[in-house]
């Protein structure tokens, strides 16, 4: 563990989105607490999975780390530099080293731009290459993501969903980043295409020593691709551990319920299994429950869970959890 080098360190990160009322005299009447005090490290060269249900703040976390949203409080240390204090030109220089792959390959590519312009944009912004070099580099990138280098002058609508996602990957690689936030990169794709894109990301990581923050809700795919996994619920991380540890010995009651809800493609096994079915829906992040945010749905909640926020503590090396009962 100690020989691993921290690339991104997230410390006490909070992101609140204010809710205003009134048109002329706007007053803030509340806040969506999308991310509320999370702390974790991402090691160089690893894939850290961030899982949770919709609305739990996974995407906001990813975007806040990249400073696409400015955090309300907290720090994001990227390779020794605190991103939250950077702005303007110095922040832009940092952005070369951190990129994002988006969920929806149909919405994230400009339909009026050619592939060469889309993939070349990061290089233009960061003035990385001369014009001739850039054309060469775009073709190289397309080949890298297993697309035909002849396709540089085509437009996004000429490609299928899986191919577009490859274009998104090529664009993310264009500026030679160290760190890529993959925001549900495969959930919009057909099942037979998902494996292709996952294998591609895997190959690229090996080849370029990339570090991934892999945001997803498909827990089976996360188990396959990630080295460590963090589970989020309603704006907080409830458990973080190595992949094997988290899936085989989940300690937080929410993680246990989440894992037992994932269907297994094996009729004998899935029907024999004991499941924890959670009652109700996740509450709203505008007015989250006090104490532990999971306590109203928790099967093992105690009295103190409603009052005290559970501390984020390490129960065995590398296995972090926020729960009073464990």
């Amino acid at each position: 563990m100690s020989d691993r080098q921290v690339l991104v360190s997230v410390q006490g990160l909070r992101k609140y989105f204010p809710i205003y009322r009134g048109i002329v005299f706007q007053t803030q009447v509340g806040a969506v607490k999308a991310v509320d005090d999370i702390t974790f490290d991402v090691y160089r060269g690893e894939t850290l999975g961030l899982v949770g249900e919709s609305g739990c703040g996974k995407t906001t976390t990813g975007r806040t780390i990249l400073q696409l949203y400015r955090p309300t409080t907290g720090r994001v240390i990227f390779d020794g530099i605190d991103l939250t204090t950077q702005k303007g030109e110095s922040l832009r220089k940092m952005r070369r080293r951190m990129q994002m792959i988006f969920q929806d390959p149909f919405a994230s590519l400009n339909s009026r731009w050619t592939i060469s312009r889309i993939v070349g944009e990061p290089m233009r912004i960061h003035r990385l290459y001369s014009r001739a070099e850039q054309i060469e580099r775009v073709e190289e990138l397309l080949e890298l993501v297993q697309l035909d280098r002849m396709h540089v002058n085509r437009y996004p609508h000429e490609f299928s969903g899986g191919q577009r996602q490859r274009i998104g990957v090529a664009r993310a690689l264009a500026s030679n980043p160290d760190f890529i936030v993959c925001d549900e990169p495969i959930s919009a794709l057909d099942i037979s295409i998902q494996a292709q894109v996952v294998n591609l990301l895997d190959d690229l990581q090996e080849r370029f020593g990339l570090t991934f923050l892999f945001i997803a809700h498909d827990l089976s795919m996360v188990r396959h691709i990630c080295d460590r996994v963090a589970v989020m619920y309603l704006g907080v991380i409830v458990e973080l551990a190595d992949r094997g540890e988290l899936y085989d010995h989940p300690q937080h009651p929410y993680t246990q319920a989440l894992l037992s809800a994932v269907p297994i493609p094996d009729p004998l096994k899935t029907r024999a299994r004991q499941r924890v079915i959670l009652a109700g829906d996740p509450p709203s992040p505008v007015n989250p429950p006090g104490g532990c945010r999971f306590h109203p749905r928790c099967p093992i909640a105690k009295d103190c869970c409603a009052i005290e926020i559970p501390a984020w503590h390490e129960i065995s090396p590398g296995h972090w959890i926020a729960c009073h009962a464990v």
Binding site: D190, S192, Q194, L258, P263, P265, T270, I277
Partner: protein, 328 residues
């Protein structure tokens, strides 16, 4: 047991500006009372179109049901007039759609929408329908059903909307429930709630069920028989245990291999299916899976295989025996 609902050689085309889309190309399947049929396939493989034809919900034009029969209790739904179909649709065969936000009317309350079916089909008066609707909301696990009766769809969460849709589908005690990707838009914990609810209702009410999904995990949990579709063709049909244990069509085999598992892990790469899903505008002359198949023999290019029995209750449409890799 006699099938309750049976599709026979259904062919559905869509006439578009680019040409004719061959959405369903001769699909046959059947369900009996108390049984669940899972239909699996990727987007555009014709799984939804085949069940929408059962309900006569295909817009014509551009759609056209070219051939085939849909037998419900022996009568062909495709030959009935519109009014007669309306007495069956929603009452005897009910449907739950994928996206509960777009299939509920935003300006009517949840309660009104559930009551409507009962007023139309069962001739209930409004008070009685309201009473029944509240009971149904309770059955599907909505807390405080009296208060929730007069809520609008936007006041419900995604899981609750899907529950309301199920309540609506169940309101007239249907014999067949068709669910078109009902849990695809939901989170896994909510999906588990809905699957449990539907299983329980099916067993209590003895309905026949058709469950369309692309999630093989949900099928493994819920279905008795499974139909796998590709490019508008049924490529494999078997009972759920056989299908997962000994899949015999190269497509089913490849799909199952490409799935990562939450209950185990290997450090190997995922198996992939090369290429992308077919374009039903331009289907090749032979088997539609040829460009992506790992077992192609010469005959596959020329002739499209028909669905054949290879064992009792196990049918596939393939020239090749995947265990030997040779033509069977």
């Amino acid at each position: 047991m006699d099938p309750l609902l049976e599709l026979q050689d259904l062919v559905v085309h869509f006439h578009t500006l680019d040409g004719v889309v061959h959405a369903v190309n001769g699909a046959s399947y059947a369900v009996t009372a108390g049984q669940t049929l899972g239909i699996v396939g990727e987007s555009g493989c014709g799984k939804s179109v085949s069940v929408l034809s059962v309900m006569r919900l295909i817009p014509e034009p551009p759609g056209e049901i070219v051939a085939g029969r849909v037998l419900y209790r022996g009568q062909d739904l495709l030959r009935l007039d519109k009014l007669h179909v309306q007495t069956i649709r929603g009452k005897e065969i009910a449907m739950v759609f994928q996206d509960p936000m777009t299939s509920l009317n935003p300006v009517l309350t949840i309660g009104q929408q559930i009551s409507e079916t009962m007023v139309v089909h069962e001739g209930m008066d409004k008070r009685e329908a309201r009473h029944q609707a509240i009971k149904l909301l309770e059955t599907v696990g909505i807390p405080q059903p009296e208060d929730r009766y007069s809520d609008y769809p936007h006041q419900f969460s995604g899981g609750m909307r899907q529950r309301a849709m199920i309540a609506m589908a169940l309101s007239c005690h249907p014999n067949v429930l068709i669910a078109d990707e009902p849990t695809t838009a939901l989170d896994v914990t909510i999906q588990a709630q809905i699957v449990d609810l539907v299983k329980d209702l099916r067993d209590r009410l003895g309905m026949a069920m058709i469950w369309i999904t692309h999630d093989l995990g949900v099928v493994a949990e819920l279905a008795d028989r499974v139909v796998v579709m590709y490019a508008g063709f049924i490529v494999e049909e078997a009972d759920v245990f056989t299908l997962f244990e000994t899949p015999c069509h190269p497509y089913t085999l490849a799909l199952l291999k490409s799935l990562p598992r939450v209950d185990s892990v290997s450090n190997e790469k995922l198996a992939t299916i090369r290429g992308s899903p077919p374009d039903c505008l331009h289907l090749p002359p032979g088997c539609p899976f040829v460009p992506r198949c790992a077992f192609v023999v010469e005959r596959c290019q020329r002739e499209n295989p028909t669905l054949q029995h290879i064992a009792s209750g196990h049918k596939i449409a393939c020239w090749v025996d995947v265990t030997t890799g040779r033509e069977r």
